[in-house]
Structures are given as C-alpha cells and as structure tokens.
C-alpha cells in the first residue's frame, strides 16, 4: 500500500494540515482581539472588554490544540525526513530555532497573562498582553512561512564540498522575496478565518435572538475586517504570489492552470478537469487571453505549458494540484462577494435584519478552512517533484531507515489521536458559544432587545 516515500509524504501532509486548522484561527483571532481591546481602551466601553473576554476563552482552547499539534511538526523533520534535515538543517534549522526562542517564549509568557491576568494587569497592561500574544503568533507565522518559502525558492545558500547546503546569507534567508508575499497571503487567509468565525457566531446569536448586542458587535467587526482582508487577498497578495510562481516556478503555474500547450494569449480555465495522460483539459470553461494578462499584464503574452517541460520536472499529482488551486481561488472570490455585500448591508443598516445574509454568514464558517487548506496544498503540491525547489527531490529526502510500515503505524496513530482532539475541540468550542458572553449589565443606552429599539 504505497511506497515509503508516499507514506512519509502523507504523514507530514496529514499532521501539518490538521495542525494548521488551529493556528489559522489563532492568528486571525489574535488580530481581532487586539482590535476589540483597542476599542475597549479608546471608548472605555466595557461591552468590548466583555466581548474580548468571550473570544479569549475560545482563543485559549484553540491555542492549546495548536500547541499540542504543533510540537510534532518540528520533530517530524528529523524523524521522517532525515536526509532532507541532514542536508538543509543548517539553513532551515535557523528559522525553526528562532521560532522557539523569539515567538514561543513570548507567546507562552503573555498568553497566560492574557487569559487569566486581566484583573491584576489593569486595562492598559491587559491590552499589552493581548498585543504581545498577537506579535508572538504572527512572528511565529513569519518564521514558518520563511522556512517554507526557502523550500519553494531557496536563497542565501551555497553547496558545500559534500553537497550539503550551507547558509551564506542570514538576511537572504529571512528576507526572501518569496517569503514576504507568501506571508501576506497566508496571514490574510488566517485573518479571514478569524473574521468568518467571529461573524458566524455573531450571526448565530442574532438569528437565535440571544445576546443580540454581542451578536451585532461580532458581525460588525467580522464583516468589516473580513471585507478588507478578502479584497487585499486578491490584490496585491494573490496577484504577487502568482507573479512569484510565474517567475520562479513556471512548471507549477502550467500545472495549476491545467495548461499543456504553450501559447500566446493563454486562456484562464475557470472550470475543467485535467487529463494528464492525454495532456488535455476536459470540458473546459475558459476566459480567452486572461491567463496571459494575469501573469504578464499583457493580453497576448506567451505562457509556457507543461509540454515545454520534461515530464520528470512535472508535479506528480497534477489533478489534485489543479483542483486545490481552483478551489482556493473560487472560494476566495466567494469570500469577496459575501464579505463586501455584507459590509454594504451593514453600511445601509440592513445587515442585522437580512436574515438570509446572516444564514449565509453562519453557514460559511467551514469555507475559509477549506480555502486555506487548499492553498497550502497548492503551494506544497506545486513544489513537487522538488522538496527544495531545484535542489533536492522529494524522493531523496525521507528517512532511509524508517520503514513504510513504521510510518503507517504512527500515521494511523496520529489519525486516531487527532480524531479525538477534533471532537474535543468541537465540543469545547460549541460549549463556549452555547454558554455565551457575560450578560450585558448595562443596556448601552438602548433597549435590551434590539428588535424593540428598531
């Protein structure tokens, strides 16, 4: 059942995909919590402090699962990808060690103060605790993205006498242009997860006629920040990410787009299924010349198709890559539609009464998770067959002494354990949402039931 290479790949893919379900909400909520705390500090309105306290409880549960599923990631570089670690550890070990020293210590110190120290710290002190938790988690995100970016587009290195990869420029590694754009793209994705979750809980409260003031606050913040993030995700971040791929990974671009034939004025496939054996795109729905325009800003620009590259340079799972990419882009487009239209309704003061829109917001909550997962699949499948683009093939990176059966055993172990963790997460988060925020002590100058006021 699959070679050692396949199971090691699946091992990492599964554990990292599951892990990333948590940090994306952590990083998104960290920003939203700083926003809530800032409003509370500026206006002196306790409503926002209580709202932040509610989200801090969800944040705490989510953070804990991010921590426990994150620890295995660092170890798996050594356990399952020993040849890769031996060659590249001198480079990517830098960013991984920095993550421990610079962000995990920061996060672990301030998280506890943030979750349990509000009374002791006072208003300003507690704002700083929230701020440092935000800085820690976003810094951690950068160092991980920089690690991945180096595998996508290695910089600041040279090959040593025994073909080992040596770091030659620290700043070349840290300020890799690929890392900067990938970071923007990843973080905007995380912010959208945070916004969709916050808006969904808000919609749930408003639709079920409970905690209406909190519901409205969550909707407002989720929708406004979400609309900005969704638009920025399209441009400049998505656009620049695409340019990076066009420039440095032309094979990946062709595979993502399902473009086999090189051509001037290449079309953009909206739908269709790649048939790799026949080298065609079945039942395509295309926009003529659009791909040329998007990649080179020129309607008739020449775009290279897969046929231009030897097959041993092609990503090995082109269909999955193609679908992942199209799911990501499709969902990103839908997010813009949902969030911008909700923001419009909010501006016209109609959002809280537009029950159909609230239903959409509430039910959309899985979508950003799917989009972020599909995005990472696109990045990592697109890099194939390389583990380090142009330097080391994935087939040469795994641990030579760890047999496929051992890796299957631990993979299945992780699957079982993570199933339990997923159920725990759902149970505890649902419970917090059910318990809800502290009751409003002061009606904020309005009637307690907003439908009466309206």
């Amino acid at each position: 059942m699959g070679s050692a290479l396949d199971v090691h790949r699946l091992h990492f893919a599964f554990t990292v995909t599951f892990h990333y379900l948590f940090p994306q909400l952590t990083m998104g909520l960290a920003l939203l919590l700083v926003i809530l705390k800032s409003i509370a500090l500026r206006t002196g309105d306790e409503h926002f402090s209580r709202a932040a306290r509610f989200w801090a409880k969800i944040f705490g549960i989510n953070f804990a699962l991010g921590v426990v599923t994150g620890i295995p990631m660092e170890f798996q570089f050594g356990t399952n990808w020993a040849e890769f670690s031996k060659s590249a550890g001198g480079v990517i070990g830098q960013t991984l060690a920095m993550e421990g020293l610079f962000s995990f210590f920061l996060e672990s110190t301030f998280l506890d103060l943030f979750l349990y120290g509000e009374k002791k710290l006072g208003r300003v002190g507690h704002w700083w605790a929230a701020f440092f938790v935000f800085v820690g988690s976003w810094l951690s995100g950068y160092l991980i993205v920089a690690t991945d970016a180096w595998m996508q587009h290695p910089t600041g290195y040279q090959l040593g006498a025994h073909h080992e990869i040596e770091l030659t420029s620290f700043w070349g590694l840290l300020l890799n242009p690929w890392a900067l754009w990938q970071y923007a793209h990843t973080m905007l994705g995380a912010v959208q997860t945070g916004c969709f979750v916050m808006a969904a809980v808000g919609a749930f409260y408003v639709l079920s006629h409970r905690d209406p003031f909190y519901g409205r606050t969550f909707l407002k913040i989720g929708v406004l920040v979400g609309a900005i993030a969704a638009l920025l995700q399209l441009a400049p971040s998505g656009d620049m990410q695409g340019k990076m791929i066009t420039k440095y990974q032309p094979t990946t671009l062709a595979a993502m787009e399902g473009l086999f034939e090189s051509q001037d004025g290449a079309p953009l496939a909206i739908l269709g299924q790649p048939d790799v054996a026949k080298r065609t795109l079945d039942n395509p729905l295309i926009v003529p010349n659009m791909l040329s325009f998007l990649t080179y800003k020129h309607w008739n620009a020449h775009v290279q198709g897969l046929n231009d590259f030897p097959e041993d340079q092609w990503p090995d799972k082109i269909e999955l890559l193609y679908f992942s990419y199209h799911v990501m882009v499709g969902l990103g487009t839908i997010f813009i539609a949902i969030m911008v239209f909700s923001a419009f309704l909010l501006w016209r003061k109609k959002l809280f009464e537009a029950r159909w829109m609230l239903w959409i917001l509430m039910l959309s909550v899985p979508l950003p998770y799917i989009a972020n997962t599909a995005g990472w699949l696109t990045a990592e499948l697109g890099r194939q067959p390389w583990l380090i683009y142009g330097l080391m093939r994935t087939a040469h990176g795994f641990s030579p002494r760890v047999a496929a059966g051992n890796a299957w055993f631990t993979l299945i172990g992780f699957m079982g354990l993570y199933t339990v963790l997923a159920m725990l997460w759902l149970f505890l988060i649902y419970r917090e949402i059910e318990i809800g925020p502290e009751p409003e002590v002061r009606p904020r100058g309005e009637a307690l039931d907003p439908s009466v006021a309206a």
């Binding site: 921590v67 356990t79 399952n80 070990g93 060690a97 020293l101 506890d112 770091l167 172990g413």
Partner: protein, 346 residues
C-alpha cells in the same frame, strides 16, 4: 565554534530538564500527594502558568540542535523513531489534560484528565531518562550515519541494542525518581497544608532512592561508556560537575531538614544541572556515541557550516536574553504559595 554550540545546546537541554522537570515530576506524584479535588486543583495551579513556557525549552533546544548539528538531528530522530513518536503522543495527551481539565466542573471530566496528566508525566520521565541513557551507551550507527533501534532486543549491551536494555531501564527509573523528588520539592515550596506535608513526605522518600540510584548508575556508566573516564582524566577540572551534583543532592537533604523549601528545590536544580553537565562532559566530543566507536557522530562531523553557526550566535544571545527576561518576569509574578481558591488556569 562547534564546541561552543555543543555547550549551548547542553545548557538548553539542562534548562529544559530543570524547568519542565518539576512539572513532569508534579504530574508523576499527582495522585500520591493530592487526595482531594481541591488539592489536585492546587497542583495544576502550581504549574498552570509556567508549564507551557517550560516546554518551550524542549522546542527551542530541538530547533537549536537542528541548525547547529543537522546530521545528529537527522540520525538521532529517525533512529529513535518509534519512542519519539510515543513521546509526541504523550506530550499531546499531557498538554491537553492540563489545559482542558478545569473547563468543565464535573466529577467525571476532572478525574479523567487528572489520570492522563499523571500517567503521561510519569511515562515521559521514564522515556527521557531512557533516551539519555541511549545516548550515553551509544547506538548501532553504521557507516551511513544512520541507525534504527527496535524498542528492545535482549536487554544486553551488545552490538544490536534496543531502546530498552538493563542500563537504559535503570536510568529511566532513576529519571522518574529524580523528577518525582524535583516535582515534590516544587509542590512543597508552592503549596500549604496537607498537600505541602504529603509532598514533603514523598520528596523525603524519593531522596533515598535517588541517592542509591545515583551511586549505582554513576558506577555502571563508567564501564558502559569508556569515554567518560577518559575525559575526566584529560580534563580534571571536569570533576567540578559531578561535585556540583553531589553538593546539590546533599543540599536537598540539608535544606529539607532545615525546612527551607525554596533552597531545597534550588538544591535539586543544582543536582540536576550537575548530573546532566557531567553526562555531556563525559561523552564530548561525541554528540551521538556509536556501539562501534568509529561510526560515532561528533561535534566535528555532525556540525553545520561555520557561517550559520556564527550568525546563529548573534540571534541566539538576543533570544536567550529575552527568554531570561520573560522567565524572570513570569516566575516573579507567580511568586509565593498558590492559594486553595486559586482562579488561575480555568
């Protein structure tokens, strides 16, 4: 440069054991010292604000090892594949237990997590001891620079060793008792009342076991790993390290009798520091000894390129200074006994 990094990684590992050691130990003695729900809550409260930060030392030390000695990281982690995966599962179970225990006040939910907290702490202490013993004893490395150890073979110290043999099991038991003592001393320092007294009793009994096991393990280690006696002969100044351990262990008993709870715990830290530094001093320049000594991984053949090690030193110093600030701050704000009605952590 590689020797410096050898020392720095050793310091980080030692700090991990000092810090996470007491919360692992507290977990291992959880049911021995805390009988009521209120007392168990106090145990959790006494480690709640710090355990996560303590565990970061493991991740930070692992990352530092990764970039300073990539060949060691690759060989060691893939060679210890199965036990390491179990360590990861235990760490997941333990973290989940501590964080979720207080979420629901139910007579089913709380003991459930208490059990997993305690059993995972206990097993981790044994695993870490056995892992250290594997390094001291040496692993079946060959010319490829890799190995794969089964969980056990015939429990003898032959060419084809397993993770568990009589020596590594012995050290595993020692590690458990040492951390139980360390954790009990921490709990004694941080708590009051019946819990405090039971922790003192457990620490007192563990001390004698630790004394016996330390003497025994030290004696056999010299024959298990010949490099140790060679190093002490070459650099007699190294005797300071085992002396520190002896002084620390004596200090534990001395301060314990004087009822100076803080100093008893700090003496235990000195003991741990002395023991761990003695071990790494003993195996230097090897980072991973081999059963066949010619295949050993040393600081020279496992290190990363010089530029990386140099540039790493700059940010490492900054990072460690920051970590020192955070730790001083958090332990200072967490000073004193935890109260019975502590609301921290849930």
């Amino acid at each position: 440069m590689e020797t410096l990094w050898f020392c720095l990684v050793a310091v980080m590992v030692a700090l991990y054991v000092l810090f996470d050691g007491f919360d692992l130990g507290a977990g291992a003695v959880h049911f021995l010292v805390a009988k009521t729900e209120e007392e168990r809550r106090q145990v959790i409260a006494s480690i709640g604000p710090v355990w996560d930060g303590n565990e970061v030392w493991l991740v930070a030390a692992g990352g530092t090892l990764y970039f300073a000695f990539p060949a060691l990281y690759a060989s060691g982690f893939s060679g210890f594949y199965l036990p390491l995966m179990m360590v990861l599962w235990l760490l997941i179970l333990r973290g989940t237990s501590i964080e979720f225990r207080n979420h629901i006040k139910s007579p089913i939910w709380i003991p459930f997590w208490d059990f997993f907290f305690s059993i995972s702490s206990l097993l981790l202490a044994i695993f870490f001891g056995a892992a250290l013993a594997n390094v001291v004893r040496g692993v079946p490395l060959d010319q490829s620079g890799y190995f794969f150890e089964p969980l056990w073979t015939n429990f003898r110290l032959g060419e084809q060793t397993g993770i568990l043999d009589w020596y590594t099991v012995l050290v595993g038991v020692q590690a458990l008792l040492v951390l139980m003592m360390h954790g009990s001393l921490w709990l004694q320092w941080k708590t009051e009342g019946a819990l405090n007294q039971r922790a003192a009793r457990v620490a007192g009994s563990c001390w004698w076991a630790v004394l016996v096991l330390t003497a025994l393990v030290t004696a056999v280690s010299f024959s298990v790993q010949p490099q140790i006696s060679e190093n002490f002969k070459t650099w007699p100044l190294g005797y300071i390290l085992p002396l520190l351990a002896v002084a620390g262990l004596a200090g534990v008993q001395f301060e314990f009798r004087r009822k100076n709870e803080r100093n008893a715990f700090l003496s235990s830290c000195a003991y741990l520091l002395g023991m761990l530094t003695s071990v790494v001093f003993g195996v230097y320049p090897m980072v991973l000894p081999a059963r066949n000594p010619i295949y050993a991984l040393t600081v020279h053949n496992a290190k990363a390129a010089d530029y990386g090690l140099k540039v790493g030193l700059a940010w490492w110093l900054i990072g460690m200074a920051l970590a020192a600030v955070y730790f001083t701050h958090i332990y200072r704000s967490f000073a004193g006994k935890v109260s019975a009605d502590s609301t921290s952590h849930g």
